[in-house]
């Protein structure tokens, strides 16, 4: 219980830091909007369900990769040492992943709303779609956070974490886009199955991160 409370405190702390700096959250939101407008300029409004879903998830995935790759880049050596003594590695990765999952779940929903306004929504089941967007963004964010940790320990920037993370995000992308297609076509029960699959994938990624992160963080 104490453990969970510490992690929650840390998530709140990250949120406060985010609000104080502002550049991060503004950048993430602007990234979604810019990509959206560019896609809209290039393709225009899409009616075909599969293309619509594909475009939505490409935009969401890239914005998640972009914002979660910052997860471990902000602190200098001094803060790293502080973190090292303050939190156990498992607690740190859970807090970071949790924070990124919430942050990207929210920005994903915002991005989805803007996407819906620009492109229109070619079907029903918006509520389920919002759930899928939040769950898919959160799953990708958990993975992206871990890749950011790897890239930061490797002393490498955001480019590496995208190369490492994108291939591994494909199961998430497949489940999320399949679920969204079913959802728009009215197959809510199938969409629920894919939502459950996304949650399972997230659980898998978080537990792998919890097990493996201590080995990254030991020096």
């Amino acid at each position: 219980m104490n453990n969970l409370r510490l992690i929650w405190t840390w998530i709140q702390h990250e949120w406060r830091m985010e609000l104080r700096q502002k550049a991060g959250i503004q950048g993430a939101l602007l990234y979604v909007v810019v990509t959206l407008v560019v896609a809209y300029q290039a393709i225009g409004a899409v009616q075909d369900i599969e293309t619509w879903v594909g475009l939505l998830w490409i935009i969401l995935l890239f914005s998640v990769v972009n914002s979660s790759s910052r997860a471990f880049s902000a602190e200098g050596t001094g803060k790293k040492i502080l973190l090292y003594f303050w939190l156990k590695p498992g607690q740190l990765i859970l807090a970071r992943m949790g924070y990124q999952m919430m942050f990207n779940g929210l920005t994903g929903i915002m991005g989805f709303s803007m996407f819906g306004i620009l492109m229109g929504i070619p079907g029903n089941g918006v509520g389920m779609l919002v759930l899928l967007v939040a769950a898919g963004s959160a799953a990708a964010a958990a993975l992206g956070t871990f890749m950011a940790a790897i890239a930061s320990v490797a002393g490498n920037g955001a480019g590496l974490s995208a190369v490492l993370g994108l291939p591994l995000m494909v199961p998430t992308l497949m489940a999320a886009s399949k679920g969204s297609i079913f959802c728009l076509q009215g197959g809510i029960s199938q969409a629920q199955m894919y939502l459950a699959m996304l949650l399972l994938l997230t659980t898998l990624v978080v537990s792998l991160g919890y097990i493996l992160f201590p080995y990254l963080w030991r020096d």
């Binding site: 490797a154 590496l160 190369v163 591994l168 990624v205 792998l208 990254l216």
Partner: protein, 223 residues
């Protein structure tokens, strides 16, 4: 690697290679003689999977023991597995050209294979981006384990959970190879040894590559 394993590898290959070209095969519509690719293409994936499994086991052992030998073995096994994967894709593309009339289709198994190759190419990029040996070993072991688990999810679980049509035998309503009524038992007698033979050859190649890399490093260190 034990000598009797090397002898076993050579003997199986002496049996498999001529039989793959000359042995009797069952005649199927569309497939015809391309069914012989079963001995090359399919066996590559089996062997790749076994090699990657061994690489991950070495990665786990490295994280527990910090013995750099395990890291080097893991690297050598991954390299050979990557080569097998590329050969698997190449043979698969040739086969697809003759039977499905295209080099590449939107098939869950093809996508899975492509993603696996990309993830392990990223593994190689990750390795080459870190100069400190101990750090490189740690980080790449962590990424290797992570990638392997997700690859298993991708290849084994996802295609079964979703009703995507696959052109591969045994999926999407296609008959599996085992269901062909006249699949000659001769073919099984070549196919199973071929899996074993390629896997043993893979371990042997990995072993040689591991030893060469070790020798190169040691000679460089003494000069």
């Amino acid at each position: 690697m034990k000598n009797y394993l090397k002898i076993a590898a050579i003997l199986t290959m002496i049996w498999v290679i001529p039989m793959a070209f000359l042995g009797e095969v069952s005649v199927q519509p569309v497939l015809h003689e391309t069914i012989r690719n079963l001995y090359w293409h399919v066996t590559m994936w089996f062997s790749m999977f076994v090699l990657l499994l061994a690489a991950v086991v070495h990665g786990i052992v490295y994280l527990r023991t910090n013995n750099s030998l395990n890291d080097e073995k893991s690297l050598a096994l991954t390299q050979v597995a990557l080569v097998y994967g590329l050969i698997g894709i190449a043979t698969g593309m040739i086969w697809a050209r003759f039977t499905w009339d295209t080099f590449w289709t939107k098939d869950p198994q093809l996508n899975g294979a492509a993603i696996t190759i990309l993830a392990y190419l990223a593994y190689m990029v990750l390795r080459s981006s870190i100069s400190d040996a101990r750090k490189r070993a740690e980080i790449s072991a962590v990424y290797g384990i992570f990638a392997f688990v997700l690859m298993v999810v991708l290849i084994v679980i996802l295609p079964r959970m979703q009703d995507v049509d696959s052109l591969h035998p045994g999926k999407g309503g296609n008959p599996g190879f085992g269901n062909y009524k006249d699949l000659k038992n001769d073919m099984r007698l070549v196919f199973y040894p071929a899996i074993l033979g390629w896997t043993l050859m893979g371990f042997w190649m990995a072993n040689l590559s591991f030893r060469i890399q070790r020798l190169t490093r040691n000679t460089n260190a003494t000069h």
